[in-house]
Subunit: 131 residues, 2 copies
Amino acid sequence: MVDDRLSRVFGALADPIRRDIVARLAVGDATVGQLAEPYDVSVQAVSKHLKVLEDAGLVTRSRDAQRRPCHLEAEVFDLMTRWIERYRRAAEDRFRRLDAVLAEMSDDAVPHTQPRTRPHGQPHKRRGEAS
Amino acid sequence: MVDDRLSRVFGALADPIRRDIVARLAVGDATVGQLAEPYDVSVQAVSKHLKVLEDAGLVTRSRDAQRRPCHLEAEVFDLMTRWIERYRRAAEDRFRRLDAVLAEMSDDAVPHTQPRTRPHGQPHKRRGEAS
DNA sequence: GTCTTCTACAACCAATTGGTTGAAGAAGGA
DNA sequence: TCCTTCTTCAACCAATTGGTTGTAGAAGAC
């Protein structure tokens, strides 16, 4: 259903087994069987997890006889960090501005009010990804 | 089912509408109705999305009469960036080491082989979160 | 050739997700 | 008081997810 890149990446990492697999692939490449060994789920289940990671672009696989070594693709992390950093920075900037406003208000001895909500009619992005 | 913090955070951001909501809350606090307005889904659906974001700790809500203004909690982003940066760094370091190995091999005129897979019996974390 | 190993595919199942509608609670305004 | 607004809760539904088992293909070992 949700088929955009960021959704696939975040969704792939929303599972402890898959994050664990990423952590282990960060140490070195591994085959499906090696990756499945520590877990008490079937190899097929791990194979499905790897397909999710592969579809998200976090993992690529080569061929070595009948084995399919899995390799972690670090570049995809940039996509996430760019998204995260953008909104973290915006939120932190806004926090600093709120601090300034509160300081100014206390100068004027105005009582502390609720945090401001955005005025209703104000324009903002409609639908779609905040790319 | 998956109830650890990182899974909830990544899972919450694995949906375009929820990422869009985060993007808009980075600009300023907003009520459920304001947040629901741009989408062609029901207010109840957006309320559910906000509950997911709240459970993940990405959003907090105050009270203003019958309204529930939503506020973005930027600190949670740190949890993600710490996780991402750790494994990105490991993967990049490994990539650099591989580069060095390849360079050394070419010095010895050894033919290029497959990337190495981790030896089978090698210890690694068993189950649970790579915290 | 046959056997074994490693992986993927298909069908199935229970639980979760993301949406709906309808009703109800909470709080201000008439 | 009653009415309206904003939000949540409950029940329901279709699609997805994360697991299972069984089967089959691909490739080395015998």
